[in-house]
Amino acid sequence: MPTHPILEYLWVIPLLPLLGSAINGLFGAKWPNKYVNIAAIGSTGLSFLFALEAVREFFDSGQVLFHKEFFTWIAAGNFRAGFDLQMDQLTVVMVLVVTGVGWLIHIYATGYMAHEGGYYRFFSYLNLFMFFMLILVLAANYVLLFVGWEGVGLSSYLLIGFYFLKKSASDAGKKAFIVNRIGDFGFMLGMFLLFRTFHTLDFTTLFQAASNPAWVSEGWGQFGTFTIACLLLFMGACGKSAQLPLYVWLPDAMEGPTPVSALIHAATMVTAGVYVVARSHMLFAHSETALVVVAIVGCATAFFAATIGLVQTDIKKVLAYSTVSQLGYMFLACGVGAFSAGIFHLMTHAFFKALLFLAAGSVIHAMGGEQDMNRMGGLSKKIRWTYGTMLIATLAITGIPPLAGFFSKDAILLGAYQIPGGHPLYALGLLTALLTSFYMFRLIFLTFHGKQRYDDRKVHVHESPWSMLGPLVVLAVLSVVGGWLAAPAFLGRPDYFANFLTPVFGGRESAEVLGEAAAHTLELTLAFVAVGAALAGWGVAYWLYLVRPEKADGLAKSMAPAYRILLNKYYVDELYDAVIVKPLVWISTNVLWKVVDVEAIDGTVNGIAGGTTAIGDGVRHTQSGNTRSYAVWVVVGAILILAVIFFWPGAEKTAVGMVR
Amino acid sequence: MNSFLAANAELLITIVKIALLLFVVLTVNAYLTWFERKVVAHIQSRWGPHRVGPHGLLQPLADGVKFLFKEDPTPAGVDKFVYFLAPLLALSLALTSIALIPFGPDPIHLFGHDIYLGIAPPDVNIGILALFAITAMGVYGVALAGWSSNNKYSLFGGLRSSAQMVSYELALTMSVVGVLLMAGSFNLKDIINAQAPLPGHPDRGILGWNVWPQILGFFCFFVAAIAETNRVPFDLPEAEQELVGGFHTEYASFKFAMFFIAEYTSMITVSCLCTIMFFGGWLSPFPASWTFTHYLPSAILIPFGLWVIWDGIRYETIFGRVILPGVGTAIAALGAVFVFLPGVNDFIQGPFWLLSKILVFLFVYVWMRGTLPRFRYDQLMSFGWKLLLPVSIVNVILTSFAILAKLQWGGK
């Protein structure tokens, strides 16, 4: 019995969901939902418990990086890709978030999907996703991480297209898949470059090599290998985490079932990009350029998505764009070097955004599948629990203290403010915060307040079952207390969370840039400003949608062009369609299909076949079954051999040798 | 001229010997037919030939003349070449086989040359093998004759005989192996000498012959030999009742004579072989110490001559009364010569015994023809394959074991 059983057998944690997935996938079809639930929830719950135990052991072992090579997966030359898992502080956060939130969402899904077809299929996919996600966060080298990376992409594709009979759903799935491929392409190129440079893809060795001053001093500076590699990795991250310009798939991904949106497209998968950037911070740290790019992209995405979110009427779409913008925040944090802040926001966001989605799902459930906020309103009386939890989540995301979002977002803004030349970023981030609070409260007001805009006779509003409300409550609690880890910072104490992650990020926190006291005062001021912005957004939303609803439409009319642009999401999809999709389709049709495939490939295949037939026809005549012709051929062969023997240099020797 | 003679003396002598042997063999053949007819006749209580010459002694001559002067039709549709080849082949092979037989142990000294009885030099290492080779070739005469004469009876005769000969050749060869093992040589002379008493051993005379230890072999050999020569009871190739004349149905006059002579010649050859391999060849049946047996030839010839004279005097035809006494006196005189010329007498011993043994075997041949019925074809085959061959193989095994045992415990 090893001292740290679970750490020693870390592979159990990802394996359990895979097991559940396999069981459900293989046998679930015939089973009643009950068994499927047991398999799915049981496996994820168990892996959550094991994760907890592993974390405990990790602390028990003094928080030293645990790294174990379980078996070698690919070995070619000096290249080794092993099934190596590792456990450090960052992993701890990720694993707990993934397993914990994932488990809750599983429970929720049992209620939400209860009446859907393909129940077992859904949970099989979901467990599969859990497996790959855990592989992703536990991986100790880029290759294995990439496996998880692609795996989650796959399962996300499967789940977005869960209602594969709906064309929009399947299209959305394909869109997500393809857009992600673009990012993954960059990611792979990044990996290749890294391997070519450092001859390893193992995190520890790679980062040691990278932190080797020789490299840094070697002027691998702003546009060297590091920059390129980091930008390529970041490209992948953009794809996965829906950043500009690759964000387009995420809103469409809302076609999937709501638990999927909650788990994959809010809490876990989309944050994988952030995780990768944070994981690779050693590399990014060597390239200011890359960091700046990350910051700018993140900030721009945050603002951009927020603006789109202002006018959306589909409740899930609003949440989707808010997810995009929140991810932007995280990248902003990474970009300004406040990695711990980014991860912190990742965690809190996982809580409240999952909560938001689940609550929205509960609303949709209550409305019997209605997603348009214009057909809701005044639901607060009817579904109190949902309303309460969702309100908490909204407060959290808008950054009202002392809820989770406040601390994390504040840390990010602080980081952005502190870096030299970071004020524009800060300003934009602040504006985004205002917008965020506006559209979130707009969502709340449109959905739960005001006069009811739906037909009572058609829709029978009803509160969701406890299997759905339970997770809501738990997540609500988490959204409240989740941020308190960082609370001491405001009381002048060290930030627990940051300290906890310090071993990973080497304490390169912007907070240390200024003196402690100055940082404290600055933090407080910034916090007040942020809260002010949030309240302002709240107020505007209140005024526009509750006091003077007609004003909103007036406003929309008064600035019609901007409104239309926002409503159409800046026509980005149309742009992509015109610039990329149409040419691609044209090329594939007229070049790849009509020329390459039909002419070249089919031509080759048929040509080979025809050639073989022709040769066969020719040779067949030698097989006449006529003994005498066979004899002739034998004679010819004999003559050839004899000629060789005869004319071979020194043949007489060999001949004598034959005799003697 | 003389120089040429001197140069090619060997060649000359050989040619003379061949001519002599040919004459002898042909004559013996002729009188063998007379002998056969007489014996068979007496077995069947008839007189046999007695018109042409006294006791029909000129009958062979008459037959010869008849053979020569009868019309010789060549049937239509025969394969000419083979049709003519077949009898030639048969006869020549039969005669060649005789050439390998040594008729006496030691040479005559004439004109300063050692002249052996028998054409082949006595030290032919593979004498017996050569004989078998020739007899093996003997199949073709019959087979080709049967095939070429474009006649179904002939064809069947040829088929039967070739099958029969091939089958019995195995038994023939296997049965001899025992003898060869004991002699340790293929050379006929060595085989005979191997039956002679070893120096320093008791001279057991007739008891030393191979026939006693090789009785099985002898049985197999003799039966197989009769089959090889297509004699009764194995004369299916010319079974009159079934196949008219068998393979020589279409042959007339001289070509038929050729087959005929070939058959009798091979009879002689086989008798020689039997004598040489199982009955001590020219060895006297009596121990050498019994010197008086050397006068046995005279003791037989003189009374026989006297009997012939006496018989001739009281013969019914004048011709007989003239000719027979002459012959008698000649015979008696020969016996007398042997008595009074001891050197000649000693030299004559070997050939005398050899010839007398051969005569005995020829008599046995005729005797069997007179008594035994013919086999059926399937009986023939099963007899050859299922009895003779296994028995001869067993004989080989037993012999080799015996020899091994002798080498192991026999001492010396």
Binding site: S624, G625, N626, T627, R628, A631, V632, V635, V659, R660 | -
Partner: protein
Amino acid sequence: MVPTNYYVILSAILFGLGVFAFIFKRNIITIFMSIELMLNAVNLAFVAFSQALGKLDGQVFVLFVIVVAAAEAAVGLGIIILIARNRQTLNVERVDLLKL
């Protein structure tokens, strides 16, 4: 003594004639005979070399060849009889099908 070359060249000629017979003749039996002819030619070469080298291995080998030839003849002629029985022909050019 006759030079070994003569024997060898003679055997080569005989072998060639055998091959030509094999190619040229149409009667299965004759073709089979031509095989025997080739074997004989080879035997001649064997004996010639064994004589030239003063070793008997060649002759022993010839004996083996003869034995094998006998076996081959037995089986081959059996096959020929079968073919003649089934195809009513001995012409190899009419026997060019594996199955009737």
